[in-house]
Symmetry: C2
Subunit: 298 residues, 2 copies
């Protein structure tokens, strides 16, 4: 396949997964007219019609590698995306990052109100666990329960929520690269890893090499996020650019400088590819996603 | 047994369950020195050392009826209490009820800050699901997964979080008794029912009569809460009294008047007892708890 044909093939795969995720989210969220209607409409606003769906793409790519039934993978992909959406709604609130723009639209507390934003986040988190629990996701009941536990650990106080707490305390401080890593492995890395592992577990036990891949691209995702926040425009990102430095947040750019941050992302991309070496052609999508995550411009 | 001896026996049982719940929560929450330390200390502040532990008491009483292993029941009791604690932390925040006193102490966002309160609620919800997932709670794996699902449904947008959303929209409006019921079945009833059902499910399938009992006492709990808010003092309650009428919240007292609200609670207590008739002496604790919930003064 030529490079251009490969790109087109990857783009088509991404579009098809994104469309499927959108349709599954649409079906899994309560209808906007179902009571309490305002809450349900706001949950849909927070979740539908936007975002790159990086975590669902990773779940599908890992599921393909593991030979998983895609009707299972779409469930874990949507659960993880709901957790991600909840975290964005809460992070954007005035008491946290106080942001007004997300995915090119007003943030939820701006479009609705703060109380609704609080409840939307709460209810999206719950719905993610409900989805995981009510569908048969593994032939092995113990592995299915392990998927619930794994998602909980990934987004709890030693995962995503904990990373956010570290982030709050770090604002205004200079962190070393090791300290940044400690924060981001939790804040963004934990849920990205969960997406990969849960996707794979729909097919069977998650191979250890896939966990290494997930760890690398979780970090790479954040490094690139920091670079884009510093270098891209608000219009390109669909969220407020330049926010980190204005808010005094330590980032890979503030710790390493832009050039070394980009080089570090590149190193993580290579490591991610290396972790996939044993899988050969089966890991095509995961390789392409590592490239997409590091080379993206938005 | 004389009435006084029965009271003393019930009081001793309550104390022993409360102590056991406290010890299990203590063990299940991350240590206050474990990173991120501020978040973990705040999670403990929100959960430990206070409250009547009504939901855990119900779980233990239902577990006793079902012949469940108490080492299983303590897990579901603590998970439900963590969900309850998270809901209090979020409900007290300035964008919701904006309260400063809870269980006789400053509310979490007053003692810490709003961002921490947001994350504490988020992380306590997650930890509840983690607890339920990581312990063996049923001999039947499908029943265990059903317990995860049941907890999620109880606290999601068609349960507790949905009830809170209805409450927000109802402020300043006069609701009929049926509308109040619709709200409270979700806002407080769903989690109270979940406590009863999950406790029973640690022993086997939940008998339908127990669901009826749970529905009645869930409502009775809220009716009495409304009466106490109107009639008791802040010092007695350990939370701000008289808040409902000041905030223009529709309550059973505003809908029915104090005397009819008390009579309704009494009717629900009788119905709850009736639902237990088939269980004979095995339902002693559940009967005593129905009495406690309706006759309490705080």
């Amino acid at each position: 396949m030529t490079a251009i044909a490969a790109d087109a093939d990857f783009a088509a795969w991404m579009s098809s997964v994104q469309a499927r995720v959108e349709a599954t989210l649409e079906r899994s969220l309560p209808g906007a007219r179902q009571a309490p209607a305002r809450l349900h409409a706001a949950m849909r606003y927070a979740t539908l019609g936007g975002g790159k769906r990086v975590r669902p793409l990773l779940a599908f790519a890992a599921g393909e590698l593991a030979g998983a039934d895609s009707s299972r993978v779409e469930v874990v992909a949507c659960a993880v995306e709901m957790i991600h959406a909840y975290s964005l709604v809460h992070d954007d609130m005035p008491c946290m990052d106080n942001d007004v723009l997300r995915r090119g639209k007003p943030t939820l507390h701006v479009e609705y109100d703060e109380a609704t934003a609080l409840l939307v986040g709460d209810a999206l988190q719950t719905l993610a666990f409900q989805l995981i629990a009510e569908r048969r996701l593994s032939d092995d009941p113990a592995a299915h329960m392990e998927m619930v536990r794994l998602l909980a650990v990934a987004c709890g106080s030693r995962g995503m929520a904990g990373g956010q707490a570290i982030d709050l305390e770090a604002t205004g401080k200079a962190l070393s690269q090791a300290e940044l890593e400690h924060m981001h492995v939790r804040k963004t890395g934990a849920l990205i890893s969960a997406a990969v592992k849960l996707g794979a577990m729909c097919g069977g036990p998650c191979p250890p090499a896939l966990e290494q891949y997930a760890h690398r691209i979780g970090l790479a995702f954040q490094v690139v996020d920091d670079v884009l926040d510093a270098e891209a425009s608000t219009a390109t990102l669909g969220k407020t650019a330049g926010k980190d430095s204005r808010q005094g947040k330590p980032t890979y750019v503030s710790a390493l400088g832009g050039a070394r941050a980009r080089a570090y992302a590149e190193e993580l991309r290579r490591d991610a590819h290396q972790a996939l070496a044993q899988f050969g052609a089966d890991a095509l999508r995961l390789r392409q996603l590592a490239d997409f995550i590091v080379l993206r411009k938005f």
